[in-house]
Amino acid sequence: MKVLLNHPVREVEVKGPRRVKELLQELSLLPEAVLVVRGDDLVTGDDLLRDEDRVEIRPVMSGG
């Protein structure tokens, strides 16, 4: 699947299927600091992502 990351914007290819929480672990991302969006929808940790999915990992921290 194609995974879009931000800060800086880049795209990585990750083999599916895998759970959202597994994807975050593999990318060393803290679940509390990001949201995962599939298409236009938010997904939770136990949702299964497949090869055909387009996924964005949206950071939630801002400078304050």
Partner: protein, 312 residues
């Protein structure tokens, strides 16, 4: 995962509340948290005029969206800091958001009114950009609210902002700043609007989720000046604690607020302290503890040291 309320597909898990919500129930949860914050902290009522300081980011645009949906009299104010492409994009987001919803928007242009963008001003006065930015924004937020007849100024500070700020202040024992870390600051003297932070009960991740669920088009890009900011480091540390022990951030900040409230009777109120220490700035008339307020001092220094006329 299923929504704890209606059993539809969940879109967000909230470990600190041991719950998960679908789109509809999550939006209701957010609205209820904001209503609770407004009521419990005596922020404002439906008759007050509220000016929301918007940046184009998820927090301030979500706040404006929620206040409007809850039928509060909320309008928007944006300060254009003149930070190249970042400011152009964030301003475009704010303009699109307000225009499509018919919300009045007031804009202050730093380059027009102060004669330079934030980076040039910071260079001129030899101060960190974020510090100059804070001084300028606080000044214009208050001044614009008062001049336009808004009695309340609302900002999009969330639980993570407040917990990380408290963390930084405690780490450095900056106890003098703790007093003003509550979600409601009174309009204690003439020339001050009441300052409120209605998002203080909601985590940053919840606000971002609200913006996505409700299709709010916000700027995801970070301010280029915030790179390496201490506040981001504190947020990261708190997020690590939160992941291991859900509820840490709210226990830290809400616990602090509860402690402050329990001590209220034993010391003078913030309004009494302000009334004793504040007077009008000799240059602009805004309330300040010194003879000249920090904004006017900053602008005087920029004019003195600047190669070109600044703010003239």
């Amino acid at each position: 995962m299923r929504c704890r309320k209606c059993k539809e597909r969940a879109v967000l898990e909230i470990p600190r509340h041991h719950t998960a919500f679908c789109k509809t129930c999550f939006t209701e949860f957010v609205h209820a948290q904001i209503e609770r914050a407004i009521t419990e902290e005596k922020m404002f009522t439906k008759t007050d005029r509220v000016l929301v300081a918007v940046s184009g980011g998820k927090d301030s645009l979500s706040l404006l969206d929620i206040l409007r949906k809850l039928e509060y009299r909320a309008d928007a104010f944006y300060v254009d800091l003149g930070i190249g492409e970042y400011s152009r994009q964030s301003k475009a987001k704010v303009e699109h958001f307000t225009l499509t919803r018919g919300i009045p928007l007031y804009v202050h242009e730093l380059k027009e009114d102060e004669g330079a963008g934030i980076n040039d001003l910071a260079d001129l006065v030899h101060r960190p950009t974020c510090s100059v930015c804070g001084t300028l924004k606080r000044y214009h937020f208050n001044r614009t609210a008062v001049e336009l007849g808004y009695n309340v100024l609302a900002t999009g500070h969330n639980l993570d902002d407040e917990a990380s700020r408290l963390f930084g202040n405690v780490l450095h024992w900056q106890t003098e700043y703790l007093e003003k870390q509550g979600p409601t600051l009174p309009a204690s003297v003439e020339g001050f609007a009441k300052k409120v932070k209605p998002l203080f009960r909601l985590a940053e991740r919840e606000i971002a989720a609200y913006a996505i669920v409700n299709k709010i088009d916000y700027i995801v890009e970070e301010c280029p000046n915030s790179k390496g900011a201490k506040m981001l480091l504190y947020k990261d540390i708190l997020n690590r604690l939160e992941s291991e022990s859900p509820g840490t951030k709210q226990a830290f900040y809400w616990g602090f607020l509860a402690k402050q409230k329990s001590e209220e009777r034993t010391r003078p109120s913030m309004a009494e302290q302000d009334q004793a220490s504040l007077r009008p700035c000799a240059t602009c008339g805004q309330p300040t503890t010194a003879e000249i307020c920090s904004y006017c001092k900053l602008m005087a220094r920029a004019k003195k040291d600047g190669p070109a006329p600044v703010g003239s």
